[in-house]
Symmetry: C2
Subunit: 387 residues, 2 copies
């Protein structure tokens, strides 16, 4: 085994860093292509950065956020949070007390852990449902939560969405929607309405997911509820700070659902090319991926003398993609313990800089090289650690 523990993973990550750093610092014409789908963004002009340095800057950006935020999310009022998880915490702190019940409806388990953690913190009883027939709202329920799209991009259909809201409102219970990726996935790809337009009282989305914003949470909702969450956030320091708000505004202005839709057709095109040569690829909502098990199987079917482990193969391929093809995928740069699945996200900013055929060629060429070196453990080690 080449990468055996967290320390090894850090060594691998540092090796990838050096490659990227050299790239950024060199004057080479060629570009790096970040296809992780995780890079988020920070769009800001020089004048805006100057304005950040004044007392008035933060207030100006908060005002501007209202307009672009409502345009994206619906609702009466917008509030920016440090993260979607902070928004979940603030909402539960504001609306739920010890002994109250919280009911959560989502397309598929598991729920995002921050919801359960926040309920535990206030001492609330937490129930989770994925089946509308079994969905029950206890009498002492103070908050109904809906997850628009799970972490694995499992999207709730609009009919169920509306029924859950209706049943909550029949009991006068507010509805909070965790719409982290959903605010865009549901609307741009599945033609659903923003959560507030479907009747949600509060909704929060992640501005770094499927758009070019910074990591952060954008909340919309009825003014009364937003004000309650805002007050709680300010008490505990959960609100987004001015530089993040500025970058949210520009990312929201930049957002175009067509880019997301395009990534779907590009994904299909790439997938069609890939399945002609490989058995290992699966589709994701905005790209394609190879799990460590599938990668090992594919390598074994083409090369019988490779003794590398599943995860070592992922790290090796990811480093080859970085070094030889200038493509950043998660396993090369990830922190210890992250998933080793190799994803190519076509909604990434950098995906637009490459033709689908180029991406296909980069994938094929790097996989050929992977087959070549994976039988040589020493050479594989040198590549993984960039020695």
């Amino acid at each position: 085994m080449i990468v055996e523990n967290s320390l090894d993973e850090l060594k691998k990550r540092e090796g990838a860093y050096r490659i990227i750093k050299n790239f950024i610092e060199s004057d080479v014409e060629s570009e790096l292509y970040d296809l992780t789908g995780l890079s988020g963004g920070f769009i800001a002009s020089e004048e805006e950065i100057d304005l950040l340095q004044t007392y008035i800057g933060p207030a100006v950006f908060e005002d501007k956020l209202q307009e672009v935020g409502v345009n994206h999310m619906g609702g009466e009022k917008i509030f920016a949070l440090n993260r979607t998880s902070s928004g979940i915490l603030a909402s539960i702190l504001a609306l739920v007390s010890k002994g109250d019940s919280v009911v959560h409806f989502l397309k598929a388990h598991p729920a995002h852990p921050s919801i359960i953690r926040a309920c535990n913190l206030v001492g609330a009883v937490y129930d989770e449902y994925i089946d509308l027939d079994q969905f029950k709202i206890k009498d002492n329920t103070k908050l109904v939560i809906i997850t628009g799209s799970t972490m694995d991009h499992q999207v709730l259909d609009e009919e169920s969405f509306k029924k859950v809201i209706e049943r909550a409102h029949n009991k006068n219970i507010p509805v909070f929607v965790d719409d982290a990726s959903g605010a865009r996935l549901r609307t741009a790809i599945f033609n659903q309405k923003p959560a507030c337009d479907l009747g949600a009282d509060l909704s929060v989305t992640s501005t770094d997911k499927l758009m070019k914003g910074p990591r952060g949470g954008l909340m919309a909702g009825k003014e009364e509820y937003v004000n309650m969450v805002k007050a709680k956030s300010n008490e505990f320091g959960l609100e987004a700070q001015a530089p993040v708000i500025l970058a949210m505004i520009n990312a929201l202005k930049d957002y175009n659902p067509q880019n997301l839709r395009d990534s779907i057709s590009k994904k299909d095109e790439l997938f069609m090319l890939l399945i002609k040569s490989f058995n290992m690829f699966e589709k994701t909502p905005t790209g394609v991926m190879v799990s460590k098990e599938s990668l090992k199987k594919e390598v074994n079917s083409k090369r019988d003398k490779c003794n590398l482990s599943e995860t070592d193969l992922c790290f090796l391929w990811s480093m080859i993609l970085l070094k030889n093809e200038n493509i950043i995928t998660i396993p090369a740069v990830s922190m210890p313990g992250a998933s080793t699945t190799i994803r190519f996200d076509l909604s990434s900013n950098d995906a637009n800089k490459l033709e689908i055929k180029e991406i296909y060629e980069k994938i094929s060429r790097s996989f050929e090289y992977l087959l070549e070196v994976c039988v040589d453990e020493d050479k594989s080690r040198k590549i993984i650690y960039n020695l």
Copy 2:
């Protein structure tokens, strides 16, 4: 009464905005001077902003922060939080459970409310002391908190600081220091050591207080404890995001304690000039201030026909300072409910652009004009709302 409620305060704030906006957008040579002491800052180069847009950017900045952070704060490891209040919440979540005791020592009441709120949230028993002779650490205490400098800049002496730490450590209880302004006020002005050098296990400071950083909390401490706080922060979204971390790094590099020390002597110089003509000024650690009561008294002693309320006088003077003298003070631009005390902070970035004599003249001239218009309520109203 001219400014009667929150709505009026917002109207006043919007009027001030328009003045500032015109200033920023016009090509006039003259400058705005932000003497609020609250503007913080956001120092970042174009290349750094570009790096923010990559997957690797955040990781690069987190690494860089370690070095400059330890240099400023001491300790073994650094962690950046969304706010000092988030750092307090994360530490109490990480180290204290229901029924545990938390003991807080500070120079003077009141404590920062976020400490008490976080204790209430986890269900801890909270005790507060300002007298070392009465200071008691109960047996079930899990955390001892020291406030280095209170919100009113009341600074704890180093001897008491060390004694509290010693008594906590004798009982094997970790010590957390809320050093919001203290990390600079204590070291630069009072020649004390950083909290970690005095033995604290954790210490947090506000990067927008007495330095040119963004609003945020910079934590330092023993690695074991920092790791515990970091894990808790990531669970609830309390950590600082990359754009804020970048600006923290540059503000820490920019920080020079001499600037703070200079502001003290400048403050003394300004105060000496002011007391020759006025009775209303008081010193703050880094500037001078006038409370609403003192302002009303001073106006009454020089003009017997002024019927404006204390707060209206503050708003009026603050707007005159802005419009006629280009000086931003808090009452002109503040949110509803903020303090109406007029402070001139000489550690503000912009204070360096003015001679002390110029500041004195701007203050005198604007006060003369205040005396002139304050007897005319209609005219005062027009100035306050910038009509």
